[in-house]
């Protein structure tokens, strides 16, 4: 056997193998088993293997794909104990796993709820977004999107929320937040609010230079009164003191 032929014979199965590996993609069945394992490990402890909830956690069957995606993509879920605060964290899963997990939860029997909104902030109207934001959002999340105090807990700042997450939160109403349905904000309105929120959190119009952490008009007024008026008073005193140095103090009883 000549050496080129032997090489060719050796190379053929190798090449076939490479092609097979490249062409092989994890099938749906295999991916689902992985996701199912993750679901049972991270979610089912509280929400139940069927998603109906347990004494440790609520049902997730009515949260919709929007709700599942919101909680997972903002890192609010999973939490390690049911008593942990549900707060924004780095998401635990990479985007592909996250999508597969959302698909898996959505495939549970009896799953309903809003779908993930498709948000297009490129064609959104900022003025309309401002109107809707001030009417529906500003009461809790503050005019600046910095969030604020509520009765039982606080409403979170919006500066890290993506447009999709903002739209999801409005449709789902996570935690104590009310749901903003089609009657309150239509699909175009979701785009507008998401765009406006991004505008005020990413490019706030801080004309004074130092925004005072966007605490609002009361701290701004306090700074103006105490710092500004204080400086003016001190300045007035300096001017007055210097002026009297040049004058002779009239003698007492000179009338």
């Amino acid at each position: 056997m000549s050496r080129p032929l032997a090489r060719a014979l050796l190379a053929l199965p190798l090449a076939l193998g490479v092609v097979t590996v490249i062409a092989w993609r994890p099938g749906r069945a295999i991916a689902q088993i992985d996701v199912r394992t993750i679901f049972l490990r991270d979610c089912a402890v509280c929400h139940g293997a069927d998603g109906r909830g347990s004494p440790r956690g609520p049902s997730i069957l009515t949260s919709g794909r929007a709700g599942v995606d919101f909680y997972l993509s903002t890192g609010r879920m999973p939490i390690s104990k049911p008593t942990d605060a549900v707060e924004r964290h780095q998401p635990k899963y990479d985007p592909a796993t996250l999508r597969a997990l959302v698909d898996y939860v959505a495939s549970l029997p009896g799953f309903t709820g809003p779908d993930i909104p498709v948000v297009d902030i490129g064609h959104a109207s900022l003025p309309r977004g401002g109107v809707l934001y001030r009417l529906n959002c500003a009461a809790c999340h503050a005019w600046s999107g910095r969030g604020g105090a509520l009765l039982h807990r606080e409403s979170p700042p919006l500066d890290h929320a993506t447009p999709t997450q903002i739209a999801e939160a409005m449709r789902v109403g996570p935690g104590n937040m009310p749901v903003f349905g089609e009657a309150a904000v239509d699909a175009k309105g979701l785009d507008d609010v998401a765009a406006y929120t991004r505008e005020i959190t990413r490019h706030p119009a801080d004309r004074g230079g130092f925004p005072l952490w966007h605490l609002g008009p009361l701290p701004e007024g306090a700074v103006a009164v105490f710092l500004g008026l204080g400086i003016l008073l001190a300045l007035a005193r300096v001017i007055g003191t210097r002026a009297s140095e040049h004058r002779e103090v009239p003698e007492a009883g000179s009338t």
């Binding site: 009765l151 749901v179 009657a183 040049h246 004058r247 009239p250």
Partner: protein
């Protein structure tokens, strides 16, 4: 030229230059912070120039002017006393009192009469809102609210049809689980499918009650933290508000839209002096 003169002139020049710089910045590259800083320097320099002039150029004081003696001398005093005694005060007192009274009455009348300009009495205008039986419930865009578009836990700011943006007609629409409702007697039919409409004007100080905590079913007023439980007729659960938020009776029409069945259950907003009090 003295040192003070030179200093004052320099301050004036600085003021003029920075003032022109404000204009240049304004025209060329508007930036409120630069404009503010330059305008500040211009005013400060202008003021400083006058301080320098006052301290360095004006004659130093104080200049003392002798005051004239107070009081009249003895002759003058006696003359006045005599003249005073000559006047017959008693015989003219009645006439004097009369004229004084007329002057007082005229003066008070003139002062009180313009109160009429405060306008006609409000009557029961404060107790009524634009809501009427049969008016449709619309959102801020004027679109009728369809019951199916308000999900459980949902919140919509609503207005009476034809009065979008009305200050006293604004209301909040929420949807709760119907079996959780504990509405006061007589309001059983006011919350079809768990849909509740309450006035958005706080009964404490009139702020918009726009915060809704869906899980605890509480409306919250941002001004003074009054909380109202929507399940039991929006009675206050915390904060300074003493009265419940008035509820609007509604029903779901055959086309799925929401229709008001009348005005609010009580006059909306904070109390006023002749507010009809038939709730408590």
């Amino acid at each position: 030229m003295t040192r003070a003169e030179r200093l004052a002139a320099a301050a004036f020049i600085v003021s003029a230059a920075t003032a022109i710089a404000v204009l240049v910045v304004y025209v060329q590259h508007p930036d409120p912070q630069w404009e503010g800083a330059l305008l500040g320097i211009a005013t400060l320099a202008f003021g400083a120039a006058f301080v320098i002039i006052a301290n360095g150029l004006l004659p130093p004081g104080p200049a003392v002017e002798q005051r004239e003696r107070f009081g009249a001398d003895l002759d003058e005093r006696e003359e006045v006393e005599e003249a005073f005694e000559r006047i017959d005060v008693l015989s003219r007192r009645r006439f004097l009192l009369g004229t004084a009274g007329a002057a007082v009455v005229a003066f008070v009348g003139v002062a009180v009469w313009p109160l009429r300009s405060l306008g006609p009495r409000p009557g029961n205008a404060l107790a009524r809102t634009p809501w009427r039986n049969g008016l449709r419930v619309v959102n801020e865009a004027g679109a009728p609210v369809v019951a199916s578009e308000v999900p459980l836990g949902g919140l919509v700011t609503v207005f009476p049809e034809g009065a979008v943006g009305s200050a006293d007609g604004q209301a909040v629409l929420v949807r709760v689980e119907p079996q959780m409702l504990k509405l006061p007697a007589g309001r059983e039919s006011w919350a079809p499918d768990g849909l509740l409409v309450y006035s958005k004007v706080c009964t404490h100080a009139g702020c918009p009650v726009g915060l809704y905590e869906a899980r605890s079913h509480e409306l919250l007023c941002p001004c003074h933290q009054s909380a109202f439980n929507v399940l039991d007729g929006a009675h206050p659960t915390a904060g300074p508000a003493a009265r419940a938020q008035p509820q609007l009776p509604i029903q779901i029409a055959s086309d799925g839209t929401l229709v008001a069945l009348g005005d609010f259950s009580d006059p909306i907003g904070p109390g006023y002096w002749d507010r009809p009090d038939h709730s408590q």
